[in-house]
Subunit: 350 residues, 2 copies
DNA sequence: AGTGGTTATGTTACTGCTAACATTAAGTTG
DNA sequence: CAACTTAATGTTAGCAGTAACATAACCACT
């Protein structure tokens, strides 16, 4: 017994407003060819009846489905929920809905799942989260099906589709600059996983910031990590055991930065009194740790909003080749200052 | 240009199989009244044409929408993604789809959002994640709209709807038993946030396990926490500073357990050599920490599967009052043994 | 053979909306 | 002021399925 009050349809609204169904439909779809007077009458009726268009009927009759698909595989926990935050906000504001699915297994499985997904939901477009956005077979499948899609932070094949990302290089540059401005000169750096494209960008940003401040960076201050807590622990132990121990350590992600904090404690060093720590990503651990991490907030939610808009705009649907400038959408990051970084006093550490 | 191959409809399948649309529909909906021969013919045609029913048409014509709503507010990060894992698995297997939305703001906002959500998506049912499942206004709104709903791990108002949860009491009991069996007698416990119903259950499980093993638990071994890393740090510091310092600490969640690990390091104690640590929840931090935490894995994905099945089954739709046994669905937890707990040797600590 | 009772399949009439075309009303011009 | 635009609204015919009823086919049993 779903219907306490029986479903109100466009016909009820039309009757109440004294117009035809079609006019109501036009008002609801922002068609220009409706007089202001009629529009007002219709809107009043919509309000009064608390009418919501039946999305299925719309989809069946029209060309748009008002559904946007979100496919993901296995991004870091929290990434999905962050992304959803922004995506849902935009969807709510525009009357769209998000249908999500996980796409895992062999690349053959992924292809099948992708195909089934677009076929059975008839979404208007698909958003691919990393690392799914770098699976060539999926890109191929989507292209073949004619479904527009946007990728989030892809590492490769940048011409395959429009994509949204942040400027990892600039963020690392800025964070390094921040540490330098706080008086740090001996800065340790822990590189991310060598397979991730972002690792290189972040590393390069760090190096260039050091260089442009004419600060020498000895090779023993650079350690290779793998984005895991454990790898961070090992890297940090080496850095903190050095004779010319750095006064600040910049880790390529928060998990490793958290490990640096633990390593410091083990070495009997306080954070931030003895060593400052900076992370990257602003995942949950960054703020739940004590002291909370100074880090780079990835604008995941904003990236999501941008992706939704791209699909909604319909720009991607048209056959005409997109302009090059339509492909890349850079979203601003944010440097989050928390307690894990402290300025060095006048008393210079020996 | 969405249509590379024009959409195949039920009519095409019917033509190819040499039957009417209705028969195809019956086969697809597992109707019993179809002969095996006809069923085979139809399935062959479906396979050959790679036909997928149009979900909108189904929804419009039929009573089911094949969409299930998932509403959440602000659970711990990772909870949502964990939940999605199970929910999506079940959905995929059954031809359903998940439409998700976030429901935030004042309770008035939440009511409006909930109402809009069910009205515009016409989902077959709604799943409420904690802490949203304890907002009375939302429960009221859903009931009023006649939409069936299932709650996940609710704290209060247990008769309001069917719900799915795990046995927190038993889990805490088992974990305590585990520590005792590893030879620990002096066990510290950090209670969770007093506002959470689960905190009491976990505490009680701990107490009862101690009691049934006739182990005395001095009051100074019990500390109040608030489920945060910081509160765990403070509680652990007190416990580890005691003269009769416990040999094991059981924290009511993983964040606090992680803090215990850090506190131990600060106190110059090794985990697990000097002090064993047990957590609860098995969130990401539990396995990314070093040493990884022995903890209770909340069966979030399984709870999700159960919730989907409940809605899909249609049991909740009927007006007849549900049997009491239909309300509560307990899902088995799992005790995850990792490196943070060690058995105490024969040499008994003084 | 005729009656009744199944069981399997077909028909018809919707579901709520929009595309495409048809019509009316209003404004413009020679 | 009739003819011609143009703007605003109405009509008709689907979209792709399912519910509900109608019918045909088959079988057993008096």
């Amino acid at each position: 017994m779903r219907s306490e009050q029986k479903n109100i349809t466009i016909q009820h609204v039309a009757d109440r407003a004294g117009v035809s169904k079609m006019t109501v439909s036009r008002v609801l779809n922002q068609d220009v060819k409706v007089s202001d007077k009629t529009r007002a009458k219709v809107m009043d009726a919509v309000q009064a009846l608390n009418y919501r268009p039946n999305i299925s009927a719309r989809q069946l009759a029209g060309s748009k489905s008002y559904f946007i698909g979100l496919l993901y595989d296995n991004p870091s926990q929290g990434y999905v929920s962050q992304f959803l935050l922004g995506a849902l906000k935009r969807c709510r504001a525009t009357g769209y809905h998000l249908v999500i699915d996980q796409c895992q297994g062999s690349s053959q499985d992924k292809v099948r799942m992708t195909r089934d997904f677009v076929a059975s939901t008839r979404v208007d477009g698909v958003i691919l989260l990393p690392p799914l956005c770098d699976v060539p077979e999926i890109l191929g499948t989507l292209k073949q099906s004619g479904t527009p899609f946007v990728r989030i932070a892809p590492n490769a094949d940048l011409e395959a589709s429009p994509y949204v990302c942040m400027d990892d290089y600039q963020a690392a540059y800025d964070m390094t600059q921040e540490l330098i401005q706080a008086g740090h000169r001996d800065i340790g750096f822990i590189i991310g996983h060598p397979n991730h494209g972002t690792s290189r960008l972040r590393y390069q940003g760090f190096l260039d910031a050091m260089r442009s401040n004419r600060i020498n960076c000895p090779p023993e201050h650079i350690e290779q990590g793998y984005f895991t807590y454990k790898s961070g622990l090992q890297a940090a132990s080496k850095l903190l055991g050095l004779v010319n121990r750095p006064t600040a350590i910049f880790a390529s992600n928060d998990d490793m930065a958290a490990a640096v904090t633990s390593a410091a404690h083990i070495h009997g060093l306080g954070v931030p009194e003895d060593v400052s720590v900076a992370g990257f990503d602003d995942v949950e651990i960054a703020s739940s740790l004590w002291p909370p991490l100074t880090t780079i907030r990835q604008p995941i939610a904003e990236m999501a909003e941008c992706a939704i808009e791209l699909i909604r705009s319909g720009k991607l649907t048209s056959d005409r080749t997109l302009r090059r400038s339509d492909y890349r959408h850079l979203i601003d990051f944010e440097l989050v200052r928390r307690e894990s970084v402290q300025a060095i006093g006048d008393a210079c550490k020996s």
